[in-house]
C-alpha cells in the first residue's frame, strides 16, 4: 500500500475508533474482525486501556469464568461497547439474524441470534455494521426481530444502537425517534447511490459530509501493530486483508 492510500476495512475501522469515544471495556464478537481492528488500535493508543475482549481469541480475552462471564459482565453494565450485524436491519434498527420469510418455513435460514437478544439491551454503545449495503439487507421491516432497536417505556433498556456503519456510509441512530440519519458518505460514494440502495427512510442534512480518511499514523499502527494480533483471532480475515499469516503452529489431523 502506498502512503495515503487505505483499504475499505481500514476506513471502517477508523470510523469505529472515533465512534467508540471514551470507554473502559470493549467486547468484540466472533464475526467482527473490523471492529476488532478498531478496539485493538484503541487499546494500543490508550497504553492498555480500554480493556478489550475478543471473544474468538485466546490471547486477547481475559475472561476466566466461562462463556457466561461476558453476558453477566454486560448485565452489570461492565461492557461499554459491542458490535452487532444482521442478515436484515430495518429503519428502526431492529435486527434479524434468524431467517428470511415465514419463520416456520423460511426461504433462507441465518445462523441464529447469538447474544444479540441480550447485549443489544444492556450495552450502552452498540455499533451496527453491515458491509453489504443493499435493499436486500437494509429493509423497511425485518422479517424476524432477533432484537429490537428500541423498547417502549417501562422496559429495562439501558443500552442500544448508536450508529450503523456500511460499506457506503455512516448512519447515526436517534433512539428517541427510532430513526437513522445519514452522517457521512465514504469517499467515492454518493447520496443517490445510498438512496437507491437503502430500503428504509432516513433523515439527512442538506450537505452530507464525506467520511474522513484514516489518520496516517493510525494506518501505520493498524498494519504494523494490529494486523499481526488479529491473525490469531481472525486468521482468514487477516490473511485476506493484510496478508498477515496465521501463527505457525502445527495443525492437527491428517
Amino acid at each position: 500500500m502506498t502512503a495515503g492510500a487505505f483499504r475499505d476495512e481500514e476506513l471502517l475501522a477508523s470510523v469505529i475508533l472515533r465512534r467508540l469515544g471514551d470507554v473502559r471495556h470493549v467486547a468484540v464478537g466472533a464475526a467482527s474482525p473490523i471492529p476488532a481492528i478498531a478496539a485493538l488500535l484503541a487499546r494500543h493508543l490508550g497504553g492498555g486501556r480500554p480493556f478489550v475482549s475478543l471473544l474468538s481469541s485466546e490471547r486477547h480475552n481475559f475472561f476466566t469464568d466461562g462463556g457466561r462471564e461476558l453476558f453477566d459482565c454486560g448485565g452489570q453494565g461492565r461492557i461499554d461497547a459491542f458490535f452487532l450485524s444482521g442478515g436484515q436491519i430495518d429503519g428502526e434498527a431492529n435486527i434479524n439474524l434468524v431467517a428470511i420469510g415465514d419463520y416456520a418455513k423460511p426461504k433462507v435460514r441465518f445462523p441464529g441470534s447469538f447474544g444479540s437478544a441480550y447485549l443489544y439491551y444492556v450495552v450502552p454503545r452498540v455499533i451496527l455494521f453491515r458491509l453489504e449495503h443493499s435493499r436486500r439487507t437494509l429493509v423497511p421491516r425485518v422479517d424476524f426481530i432477533s432484537a429490537p432497536g428500541t423498547s417502549p417505556p417501562g422496559v429495562y433498556r439501558p443500552g442500544g444502537p448508536i450508529a450503523l456503519i456500511t460499506n457506503r456510509c455512516v448512519f447515526a441512530f436517534d433512539r428517541r425517534r427510532a430513526r437513522f440519519s445519514l452522517e457521512s458518505l465514504h469517499p467515492g460514494h454518493g447520496l443517490e447511490e445510498v438512496l437507491d440502495n437503502t430500503g428504509f427512510d432516513f433523515d439527512r442534512p442538506e450537505m452530507v459530509p464525506t467520511t474522513p480518511a484514516p489518520a496516517p499514523e493510525h494506518l501505520v499502527l493498524m498494519r504494523e501493530i494490529v494486523a499481526p494480533l488479529l491473525a490469531e483471532a481472525y486468521p482468514q480475515f487477516a490473511a485476506s486483508v493484510f496478508g498477515a499469516g496465521a501463527p505457525a503452529t502445527p495443525i492437527a489431523g491428517e
Binding site: A30, A31, S56, E58, F63, T64, D65, G66, G67, R68, E69, F71, D72, G75, L97, V98, A99, Y103, K105, P106, K107, V108, R109, F110, P111, G112, S113, F114, G115, S116, A117, Y118, L119, Y120, Y121, V122, F144, I145, S146, A147, P148, S151, P152, P153, G154, V155, Y156, Y234, P235, Q236, F237, A246, P247, T249, P250, I251, A252, G253, E254
Partner: protein, 278 residues
Amino acid sequence: MSAVLRDLDEALAIIADGAMVVVPPEYGGVAMEATRALVRRGITGLHLVTLPASSLQADLLIGAGSVTTIETSAVSLGEFGPAPRFGAAVTAGSLRVLDATCPAIHAALQAAEKGVPFMPLRGLIGSDLVKVRPDWRVIDNPFASGPFASGGDPIVLLPAIRPDVALFHAPMADRAGNVWIGRRRELATMAHAAAKTIVTVERIHDGDLLASEASAAGVLPALYVEAVAVAPRGAWPLPLAGEYQRDEAHLAEYAALAATADGFQRYLERFVFGRKAA
C-alpha cells in the same frame, strides 16, 4: 482400567437414541472424534443443546440425520460461512429449532445446576424469540423499584434445561476421573446440569489433579463424570485451547463439500466412515 476410564465406543454407549445432549462451542473443547463415532454408530433422534452456539459438530450431526431437535443461539462455520447442512435442514422443515440467545442457554443450564425450576434473564422483551418460544414466560418483576415501582418492568423466565448427557473434549483427566478444564468453566456448568457427563481427553495424567491448588482450580471433579475416554487429537479439526489450533484447510474443505447433499455424503465417506476412531 478403572470404572470411569473406558474405550470410546463403550463410553458413548451411555448416549441412547433420542437423548438430550449438551455440547460446548467451537473454542470450548468439542468432542469431534466422539461425534464421528456417534455418526458411525448411526445414532438418531438427538435433542442437541449447544452452549451457546455450535459450528462443525452440529452441522455434521444434522447432515448425518442424527438430530431431531436443536436448541441453539446459532449454528455457523464462522469465517468459513454459513452452516450448510443446518440451513438445508431448516429450510426443508426436517429439523426442529428452539431458537435462543447465548445467555439464555447459559442461564437455563445454570438453573439446572442450582436445582431451581427457572432463571430470569434481562433483554429479550420485544424480541420475536419470545413469540417462538412458548415455553418461556414473561412476568412483571416482583421486586420492581425506582422508575418501575408503579408497575411494568417485564422480565423473561427460562425453564431449566436438564440434559441427559454432557459431552466434551478436554486436555487431560486423572485415573480417578477428575478432568482438567482450565478456564473453560461452561464445561463445568454443562456437567453440573446434565445427568451424566462423558469426556474425551488428549491424555491421562498420572497423579491426582486435585492434589495441587494450581491444577485443582481448573478441575471438574470426578463426582460429575460418568466416563472418560482417551481420544488423541479428539477435537480435530476444531481447536483445543493450549493444545492445537483449528485445521483451517480442513474446515474450508468441509464448507465446500457440505454445500451440497452429495458433497456432504462424500465428506462422511472419507472422514467419518473411512476414518476409524483413534
